[in-house]
């Protein structure tokens, strides 16, 4: 059973000031998913077009403290699969500097 007090000390990866509706469940879900990462891990988040995407990254602002990418509506996973492949290739060539969760 996780300890709520401990969890509250975890790094905030998704910040306030975004434009999601009051009461929307999505930001809660995002926060709790990202809490499950270790604090020293870096994530890449691929976001499909939708409420979460349009409300959290309006140029020139972003709510995301990890790398975040949006390309289109139907292809968040396909986009991410390319990022994952690039990560593996760059890792193989020893061109990476920091750890990123796969």
């Amino acid at each position: 059973m996780p300890n709520l007090k401990e969890l509250s000390k975890k790094k905030v990866r998704f910040t306030g000031g975004h434009r999601m509706c009051a009461g929307c469940g999505a930001p809660m879900v995002v926060n709790w998913i990202l809490k499950a990462l270790d604090d020293d891990e870096r994530a890449v988040i691929s976001n499909a077009t939708g409420c979460l995407e349009v409300s959290t990254c309006l140029y020139p602002y972003t709510s995301w403290k990890d790398s975040w990418v949006h390309t289109a509506f139907e292809n968040a996973a396909a986009t991410c699969s390319g990022t994952e492949a690039a990560f593996k290739a760059l890792k193989k060539k020893d061109l990476l500097m920091e750890s990123i969760s796969s």
Partner: protein, 186 residues
């Protein structure tokens, strides 16, 4: 890669259009309840089962953190587990959209709770093909407990639509029984 679907049951961003994830009977802007139709005419596509069918190492279904419930940390636990597994992982999170569901923001988590307690949205996970149900309600609530809290189902509670509610109940029961079987609970 962990794929997280926050399932709010419609295309909410464009203004609440029906999607394959929209529950049967829901009143949306492209499946409106009218004089001859009573909302969406298909049952909800079971995305979690579709992902299970891909035989990925981990697929799970869960809900946001709801304090005071036995499954308060279900979302967190599943995310933590998923991040540690290598390969394609999937989580389906029933996520309230007060505008689309037409429910009260202050009590929206009660609606999600009703989804779990009626077995409309069972909490379970499939790890390497092994099913595990994470929460079995002591007493399964009737589906009306979930329907009555949301404006999008209001029309279904009229006496003349009782047969639709019955149809929804039967489908929820069928899927729940199937899940109990797959998880070897029954």
């Amino acid at each position: 890669m962990l794929y997280v679907c926050y399932d709010n049951g419609a295309y909410m961003n464009t203004g609440i259009q029906r999607s394959s994830a929209t529950p049967y009977g829901a009143d949306t802007t492209t499946s409106p309840a009218g004089k001859v139709k009573q909302g969406k005419e298909q049952f909800r596509k079971d995305l979690t089962e579709i992902m299970v069918a891909h035989h990925i190492p981990y697929a799970a279904q869960t809900v946001p953190v709801i304090p005071g419930t036995p499954y308060m940390f279900d979302l967190y636990n599943k995310a933590e587990k998923a991040f540690k597994i290598t390969g394609a992982k999937f989580m389906n999170v029933l996520t309230p959209c007060p505008r689309g569901w037409r429910c009260d923001t202050a009590t929206e988590l009660e609606v999600v709770k009703a989804a779990v307690e009626t077995c409309f949205w069972p909490l379970y996970e499939v790890e390497n093909g092994e099913y595990k149900i994470n929460y079995i309600p002591k007493e399964k609530k009737p589906i009306t407990e979930w329907l009555k809290l949301q404006g999008r189902f209001k029309h279904l509670l009229k006496p003349e639509n009782e047969h639709i509610v019955q149809k929804i109940q039967e489908e929820v029961d069928r899927r729940w029984e199937r899940l109990l079987f797959l998880a070897k609970v029954k």
